[in-house]
Amino acid sequence: MKLTLKVWRQKDGDSRGEFATYQANDINPDMSFLEMLDEVNESLLARGEEPIAFDSDCREGICGACSMVINGLPHGGRKATTACQLHMRLFEDGETVTVEPWRARAFPVVRDLIVDRSGFDRIIQAGGFVSVSTGGAQDANVIPIPKPDAELAMDAAQCIGCGACVAACKNASAMLFVAAKVSHLAILPQGRVEKNRRVLRMVEAMDSEGFGNCTVTGSCEAVCPKEISLNFITRLNQEYAVALLKSTGQSAR
């Protein structure tokens, strides 16, 4: 199959970017979107042009690196699918496909489709961990955890931090990401100990990165490749309110 690609090209963060149009011919419908871009890059290299820069690593939907907005939707907007898992057979032969980087102040463009998502790392550093001081690991079954809690925590822990939620949200809000990271720890006994401090710090870090606010549109949930539910945002709102009431300042710093 053939496609016309409109791809965002931008040399670096300081340069002005623009769309460039490429013809992709002989696309195998069984390719993934990234493999298709690899082929386009091969032909660009053969012509002596700069290849399109994009992030990827695992290419099986678990690392969250392959950030790109395809036809206006992060990862192409298919249910539970990352760009690396997106099959070319889902496109129409002859279609024009527009590819853009995540657009958010907190995710500045590094080059072409690559953005700097280290804002997410700083949010995690602010509190997305469990402090375990010393000692050998005890037997896992010593701490009983109800099955529904374990499953709920696992649902939240599915988040791969790809940033599609931010990219899809009309407010570039990182609430779904933060909600998933706060929840998967707070639901389990090991993480519950630090839950108040964690949520306060992570929300503070989220705000200082310059993400927007949640207006409950549900776009994040719809594009999330790991189908993280909006219910976790409810939980985050609840956790934060409780933490606000419990700590009047000192303990959280």
């Binding site: 409109k6 965002w8 769309f19 907005v69 036809n71 206006g72 939707l73 907007g77 527009t98 853009e100 657009r103 958010a104 102040r105 907190a106 899809a168 009309k170 407010n171 570039a172 809000s173 306060l200 929300v203 503070e204 989220m206 705000d207 310059g210 993400f211 927007g212 606010n213 949640c214 207006t215 409950v216 549109t217 549900g218 776009s219 949930e221 719809a222 594009v223 909006l230 219910n231 945002i233 409810t234 939980r235 985050l236 709102n237 609840q238 956790e239 934060y240 309110a241 606000l244 009047t248 300042g249 000192q250 959280a252 710093r253």
Partner: protein, 225 residues
Amino acid sequence: MNTLNRRCSSSLGKKYVMAVTGLALFGFVVAHMVGNLQIFLGREILNGYGAFLKSKPLLLWGARLGLICLVSLHVWAAIRLTQDNRAARPVAYAVQASISASYASRTMLMSGLIVASFIVFHLMHFTLGGVDPEFLEFRDGAGRHDVYRMVVAGFSTPIVSIFYFVGMALLCLHLSHGVSALFQSLGLRTGHWVRAIDLFAKAAALTIFVGNCSIPLAVLIGLLK
């Protein structure tokens, strides 16, 4: 205290302000509608209700001041949040696609601002007499303010009634999203409550639209005169 202050003006803090003031305003809108629907019980009852409210100046002014504070806080938070949201995406997408976001959820600021301008007109119309000063002079047989006559006179002009229909349609849109969003913001929209809350929001918004519009409509078709 300083930390607490900073926390309360965080993104989530402002959403709590939005939600709490939105909830209180929603409560007022419902009570206001129920009170006004007494017009269908006749002039006697409506004017009596009006006189009753006026006879409790402390309560009346308390409520008015409270409402002014609520609206101011709500609009302040709305504008601050919207500014943050716009700043968070300085470069727009070339292809604008929206997924799963309802029309109501994408237009909250616009519907809210139109509702605000509607509120100003509504106050001019029936509270301050800015539209027709005569309205406040109407007296019934018992010497009370003739609210009934004022409402009928006010809605007899079709263009005015049409503006009320538009105002209520936008309030309905605002609340169809807002009432479920407020439960989400307060962390109460969980588990099996999600669908019930979303349904309640839509039903409540529609009820408010139908209830409030029934009055100008009844005047226009001559049911109330």
